[in-house]
């Protein structure tokens, strides 16, 4: 890859994507505007996952625990301690960093399938801890963060994060910051080491790199981004519950990333958007053409993913990169 050639294009592309997302705030109808706010937050989760899976090649099946760390770190402090939005967000972020550091130190002693199983089991422990501390978390029912608590005050100005426009822009701000960070990281020497580890860890070791330390750093960065998404989710949408820590939410970012294109900076966004509308459209299609069949929308999603793996194994942007734009980061 000729990186110098691609730098200008990559920066232009990413700036253009953010500009389009800003413009969408003004033109999207209410429904799609609300959808995109949620999708942007979930895309941040997918970007965090992509950093570890796409670039470092570590397939985790337990990332819901990092999302949940942010979710509960922010949600519980807001609900029980009446913390404000900024401090609750930081609490969620810190919870994600600490958890990913501990899990990383333990889980990175394994590789491949063992790593998948270990991360899944740790996530299951985290999920059950939500029930164990049900007195505070209300387990599966979860907690609602009231509308009046979901606002930031700067002197006389009150930024109501439940206002659709403010919420969209807050989600976009988080998305943009994480996108830029991801772009910088993957183009940095650290990002290249991660790709080297993914391609051949033994050879990377022989070149003198401490692969464990690099993988741990990737794990913590990934955990922090996922936790930021979790904290943003509860702050912007007002709900925290154990379903969001369940195995389903560990699988979802994997699917989003696979669909959009692993190891592409914009793939997580593309995958999350497409998956959302696939699920949304599937419900309508099933209702229209298979009434009474009681087929889950997840069935349609499953079929779509099988087709994707068969015909676009590198995801949409991965295929685009292979065929048309080698510079795509």
């Amino acid at each position: 890859m000729k990186n110098d050639d691609g730098a200008g294009k990559a920066i232009t592309l990413h700036a253009g994507v953010i500009a389009v997302l800003v413009a969408l705030n003004f033109v999207l109808p209410d429904y799609h505007h609300g959808v995109m706010a949620r999708v942007l937050v979930l895309a941040v989760y997918a970007m965090g996952y992509n950093l570890l899976f796409g670039y470092a090649g570590l397939l985790s099946l337990g990332h819901a625990m990092f999302f949940a760390a942010g979710l509960y770190g922010a949600g519980l402090t807001m609900y029980h301690l009446n913390w404000g939005v900024p401090s609750a967000f930081i609490a969620g972020l810190v919870a994600g960093v600490l958890l990913s550091l501990v899990i990383g130190v333990l889980a990175l002693r394994t590789k491949g399938v063992a790593f998948m199983i270990v991360t899944m089991m740790f996530a299951q422990v985290a999920y059950l801890l939500v029930y164990y501390f049900g007195t505070w978390t209300r387990g599966d029912e979860g907690l609602v963060i009231q509308q009046q608590a979901r606002a930031i005050e700067f002197g006389a100005t009150r930024l109501d994060l439940t206002d659709p426009t403010t919420r969209y822009m807050a989600a976009l701000l988080l998305f943009s910051v994480v996108l830029v960070i991801t772009l910088i990281v993957v183009r940095s020497s650290f990002g290249r080491v991660l790709v080297a580890i993914r391609e051949n860890e033994e050879r990377t070791k022989m070149l003198g790199y401490d692969t464990f330390a690099n993988k741990l750093a990737a794990m913590v960065a990934s955990g922090a981004i996922c936790a930021a998404a979790g904290a943003a989710y509860v702050i912007l949408f007002g709900y925290v519950g154990s379903t969001l820590a369940s195995v389903q939410y560990s699988i979802l970012p994997l699917l989003w990333v696979l669909l959009g294109g692993a190891a592409t900076t914009l793939g997580p966004l593309v995958g999350t958007v497409l998956m959302y509308y696939l699920i949304d459209g599937s419900s309508d299609l099933l209702k229209a053409y298979l009434p009474g069949w009681n087929v889950s929308y997840l069935g349609i999603v499953g079929v779509a993913l099988i087709l994707l793996v068969l015909f676009f194994p590198k995801g949409l942007l991965g295929t685009v990169r292979d065929r048309f734009a080698r510079w795509l980061p």
Binding site: P29, Y297, L298
Partner: protein, 440 residues
């Protein structure tokens, strides 16, 4: 509650979403010289409110863990809507149900309520059962100021932890149900009660509300055994049941219930304490299923009786016929398709409450949603009859919760026979808050 219209959003000082959308809409309308500008979700048009249908968004558990309940909730809803439309609709307008599957998932549930508010532009959202979906969706209903009528039986609405737009007017909440069971248990089943419950929120309600209710009746909970949600075998928990237990109070919910009952039977044989349970665990399950013989002679809470009773009112008979269940509480089309009779009456009754509140409010369209909320809060009681076949109810507008009679049924000859009906007063408790103090 913050009023979104007054919030000082820094992002729309000069170019607001609304002005941009209006500008684009006007341009597009000029170009196509007509009102239709784009595909689903992009179309804006004014409805002729006098004759247009009242749109009720039904958040259905068509798939996921709640699917069995969801299917019967849908059948009951369709039957009630047919009855309402046959009788002239609501305020003279026909009622249209718009169904969206939430997969029994709180994340998707929240998206579905948002879709009702902003794409389908329904008048009210309705019909959710599972507590976590209600709680996950409630913030969206509050933010869009969309009245949201749930049929969940959870205590979440009455706890006043949700918001002013969420109501439960068609089914008594679980705290009240539990409290109403205590006098009968203490008087008829025994004074020493051992609770076995799932270690999640539904179980916590029973864990927290039964002991004080029994205490007031001179009985005690001698042990509380919480079973983790992932458990598939229960034998190892049974030695924790104290030997002097008079009654085992069980509320195991989910597919493991058959194993639970079978293993409990193997543990005790023929010499067992009294058993009292909530039918929730056996909704949509045939009481005569293999392995459930051990329940013979035991007692269950039922909201509405599954089996036709000798003293059923004409209203109850008409309701059962309209929904399409036979004397055994199964589908008239398929005797193996057992209904969720103990809960689904709540759909029927909730739809009639929506009708009544809309008529009281002189509801014309979404601009009258605040009036609809106030009209619902002003309701105080519902008389037993075709609109409320399960029985008379009172409604507390401050906590948005109704209170009705409960049934205690005994398993006899492979059927559930009602042996006691509680009074409404048995289930009343002090309100924990007041939604009406929240801004609309």
């Amino acid at each position: 509650m913050t009023d979104n219209r007054d919030s000082s959003s820094i992002f729309r000082k000069k170019i607001s979403r609304r002005s941009t959308l209006k500008g684009l809409g006007a341009t597009a309308a000029g170009l196509v010289a007509g009102p239709i500008v784009a595909g689903p979700g992009f179309v804006r048009y004014a409805q002729a409110q006098s004759s247009a249908p009242i749109k009720i968004g039904f958040q259905a558990h068509r798939t996921g863990i709640g699917a069995a309940y969801g299917r019967w909730y849908e059948k009951t809803t369709n039957a009630a809507i047919k009855a309402i439309n046959d009788a002239g609709g609501i305020t003279g307008r026909p009622v249209e149900i718009i169904v969206e599957d939430d997969g029994t998932d709180p994340g998707r549930g929240a998206e579905v309520v948002g879709k009702f508010a902003t794409q389908h532009k329904v008048d009210v959202a309705y019909g959710t059962l599972f507590s976590h979906v209600v709680i996950g969706s409630a913030p969206v209903a509050g933010e869009f100021k969309l009245p949201y009528f749930v049929v969940s039986e959870g205590h979440h609405v009455a706890s006043t932890k949700l918001n002013r737009y969420v109501f439960q007017p068609g089914i008594t909440d679980v705290k009240s149900q539990i409290q109403a069971m205590a006098p009968w248990i203490a008087a008829n089943a025994g004074k020493k009660v051992c609770q076995i419950f799932p270690d999640f929120a539904f179980g916590y309600d029973h864990r927290d509300y039964l002991p004080p209710a029994l205490k007031a009746q001179g009985a005690d909970v001698v042990a509380q055994i919480a079973i983790p949600p992932t458990e598939s075998s229960f034998t190892k928990y049974f030695p924790q049941i104290p030997s002097d237990t008079d009654v085992i109070y069980h509320v195991m919910v989910g597919p493991a219930v058959l194993t639970f009952v079978k293993e409990l039977g193997e543990f005790y044989g023929s010499n067992r304490p009294q058993l009292f349970g909530f039918i929730d665990s056996l909704e949509a399950v045939d009481i005569n299923s293999p392995g459930l013989e051990f329940l013979d002679g035991s007692h269950f809470w039922e909201g509405a009786p599954r089996y036709a009773q000798a003293d059923d009112s004409d209203a109850m008979k008409a309701y059962r016929a309209a929904v399409g269940i036979d004397d055994n509480g199964a589908s008239v089309d398929d005797p193996k398709d057992v209904s969720t009779a103990a809960h689904m009456f709540g759909c029927w009754e909730t739809l009639y409450v929506i009708k009544k509140a809309m008529e009281d409010a002189g509801y014309k369209g979404p601009e009258d949603r605040a009036k609809l909320v106030e009209a619902t809060e002003a309701l105080t009681e519902f008389a037993e009859g075709p609109e409320h076949p399960q029985g008379k109810k009172t409604f507390n507008g401050k906590i948005h919760q109704c209170f009705g009679i409960q049934n205690i049924s005994k398993v006899e000859d492979g059927k559930l026979k009602v042996v006691h009906k509680t009074s409404i007063e048995d289930g009343l408790y002090e309100p924990e808050g007041d939604y009406t103090t929240q801004a609309l």
